[in-house]
């Protein structure tokens, strides 16, 4: 319960939660990018394992995944390298299901725990298919975060909030990851619906890319997840300093 208890503690302290996403293995400095976003005020960090067929991701994270794969990133390497991170906030792995299945549920869960991960997000493993992985993760002490979407009907939303661990990931719009011009109308409603269904921390993500959008989305939730906007800066050649500056900007807006 380290992920959930940590987020609850920070929430109770009156803080709006911020969880940046970093693609594992994206360039030699990726661990420094993680350290930089923690230093800039992240409350947890989502670390992506690059996959060949990321169907929930838009162009930015697709490109980052492909680039990481091209320079030799593998699930095992990303997990092993993450073990070197000695950061003060929980780490959450974001991986599609096939690499988990290929490694084996128990083996993969154990490798995460050994490397110091506290949680996992597996976007193509919905509530109905959670059984095999869910049990193995729980046994290894890995908290599996479930997604809720604007299309999720009320009864199912309650079941998702009940079964989710760590926090509930409210998908802010109907669509894949990636920056949008403005905050989706569904974002606030998603946060509100999840909050009404659970006492667990609720983070809203997908399409949140600016400080203004973060503040807007966090209004009815406990915080936000920001991925593509950060990754786009890295793809344009940015390094740990740029990541730090961007996350600090988000932090300042959320704290204001």
């Amino acid at each position: 319960m380290k992920l959930e208890s940590h987020l609850r503690e920070r929430r109770e302290a009156g803080r709006s939660l911020l969880v940046p996403y970093v693609t594992g293995g994206l360039g030699a400095a990726w661990l420094d990018v993680v350290r930089a976003v923690v230093d800039a005020g992240a409350d947890a960090v989502e670390i992506g394992i690059p996959f060949s067929d990321p169907v929930m991701d838009g162009r930015t994270i697709q490109e980052a995944s492909q680039r990481a794969l091209d320079i030799g990133a593998t699930p095992a390497k990303v997990v092993a390298e993450a073990a070197q991170l000695e950061v003060e906030v929980p780490l959450v792995v974001m991986t599609y299901y096939n690499p988990v299945l290929r490694a084996g549920h128990e083996r993969f869960a154990a490798s995460l725990a050994d490397a110091g991960f506290d949680g996992a997000i597996v976007p193509d493993l919905p509530l109905d298919e959670l059984d095999g992985w869910g049990g193995a993760a729980e046994d290894a002490g890995i908290e599996t975060v479930l997604l809720a979407a604007p299309s999720t009907p009320p009864e199912r939303l309650r079941a998702i909030c009940d079964r989710s661990r760590g926090f509930v990931y409210g998908v802010a719009l109907m669509g894949v990851t990636g920056a949008r011009e403005r905050l989706a109308a569904e974002a606030v409603e998603m946060g509100r619906r999840c909050k009404a269904a659970t006492d667990r921390p609720v983070l809203v993500g997908v399409g949140i890319s600016t400080p203004e959008q973060a503040v807007g989305a966090a209004a009815a939730a406990d915080g936000v997840i920001v991925g593509s906007a950060l990754i786009a800066r890295l793809l344009r050649g940015g390094g740990p300093e740029d990541a730090h500056a961007f996350v600090a900007e988000l932090r300042a807006a959320l704290d204001a």
Partner: protein, 411 residues
């Protein structure tokens, strides 16, 4: 809409449903991001009700007859039989409207789209046959249509791209990944996550999350349901072998389903590409391992880390690194067998059928012909009776095959 004028298509009763959440043995399922999960549950419910409804079935059967041109004949191949020493019958899906079995499925899904009140369909396509079929159904039903096609396939199937546009569809060229069928499906799924409220995803094969493998099989089983009595009329018995090519596997499952309780050996011929040892092929049953892609647990070509590998085949329609979950289950129980034919064998089969029977097959079923040519007198004993599903015609491939065989484009 045209009214049935032939009315000769009678559908077999609905087949057995998968167990649990879309399971065929250990395969199948619904592994999708949460935004899509409720829509798939709705689709399954809608399909189950529609498929049990005499009105829906009557309308589907009517369109199969009056629009698609069913039933299609089974043709006795005298000269090919003489050449191979086995008695060859062809189920002629090449004679349907749009030139392949894909029309069966899109008419069913088109009717369902209208029934659900959706106004837009999206589809993926490899060879372009499913894209053309979907564009055709969209025109027939007055639906907006968007087809995703890998850049590599846009190049080698230019004629079908033009046909889709003529039919009013928008064709989106997909540049990501291997720029073939797998990536077209990824892109269609990404579109669908954003548009699911107004849009039906018309998947072209027995792949994808539940209920697609079941639903597409039900819409395609008319192929085998027609063929089995047609074979009995000609042979007085079931054929010794029932053969079809397998990419995702819709024409094969559509044929096999009617023969599951027969003594016939069921043979799904996969794309052998440059040979299984080369690593450049599409033989997902022979060389794949269990995994999850595009919403289902099945057999996929992948590396030791679970990254999906690029498939290779001379035929765009078989250029897919996975196979439908029901095929994976049929392979696991041994009820069906999945050998492969190489690019070269498919090209030989393409020419053989043209020269002996005056029938130009699509490159996909040319794999089934190529396999038969190789195995006649060997795995297929001399004197055997063999039904081959000719899933489509080869007009779309003529220019490409000419280039493959002569090394230069035809003028």
């Amino acid at each position: 809409m045209t009214s049935p004028s032939r009315g000769a298509v009678s559908l077999a009763p609905p087949g057995p449903e998968p167990t649990g959440l879309g399971r065929f043995g250990e395969f199948g399922g619904r592994f999708v991001p949460e935004p899509l999960a409720p829509a798939l549950a709705d689709l399954e419910r809608e399909f189950r009700v529609a498929w049990a409804s005499p009105d829906f079935r009557g309308e589907f059967a009517g369109l199969l007859a009056s629009y698609a041109g069913r039933p299609t004949p089974v043709t006795e191949c005298e000269r090919l039989s003489e050449r191979l020493g086995v008695r060859v019958l062809l189920k002629r899906e090449d004679l349907t409207h749009t030139g392949s079995h894909k029309i069966n499925n899109v008419l069913g899904q088109g009717l369902l789209t209208r029934r659900m009140g959706k106004t837009r369909v999206i589809a993926e396509t490899g060879a372009g046959q499913h894209g053309v079929a979907t564009a055709t159904a969209a025109a027939l039903f007055g639906l907006e249509c968007l087809v995703f096609m890998g850049a590599v396939d846009v190049e080698r199937q230019a004629l079908n791209v033009w046909r889709m546009r003529l039919l009013g569809a928008e064709v989106v060229t997909v540049e990501s990944g291997s720029a073939t069928l797998k990536d077209a499906i990824n892109e269609a799924l990404r579109d669908w996550v954003a548009t699911v409220e107004s849009t039906h995803y018309c998947i072209g094969s027995v792949v994808g999350p539940a209920p697609y493998p079941w639903m597409v099989r039900e819409f395609q089983r008319v192929v085998g349901d027609e063929a089995r009595p047609q074979c009995r009329d000609l042979l007085g018995a079931d054929p010794d072998f029932v053969v079809a090519c397998v990419g995702g596997g819709s024409n094969a499952i559509g044929t096999f389903t009617a023969f599951l309780d027969s003594p016939s050996r069921l043979i799904g011929v996969e794309a052998g590409g440059l040979g299984l040892e080369s690593g450049r092929h599409g033989a997902s049953v022979a060389r794949g391992v269990p995994g999850v892609l595009h919403g289902a647990r099945s057999l996929f070509l992948q590396d030791e880390d679970g990254q999906i590998l690029e498939a290779h085949s001379v035929s765009a329609g078989l250029d897919y690194p996975g196979v439908g979950p029901e095929h994976a289950a049929l392979a696991a129980t041994g009820r069906a067998e999945y050998p492969s034919a190489t690019d070269a064998e498919a090209l030989a089969g393409f020419q053989l059928l043209a020269a002996t029977e005056g029938i130009v097959p699509a490159l996909e079923p040319a794999h089934a012909i190529g396999w038969l040519e190789r195995e006649a007198g060997r795995a297929v004993p001399t004197g055997s009776t063999v039904l081959v599903t000719l899933s489509g015609r080869g007009d779309k491939d003529a220019a490409y095959v000419a280039e493959q065989l002569t090394g230069e484009p035809i003028a």
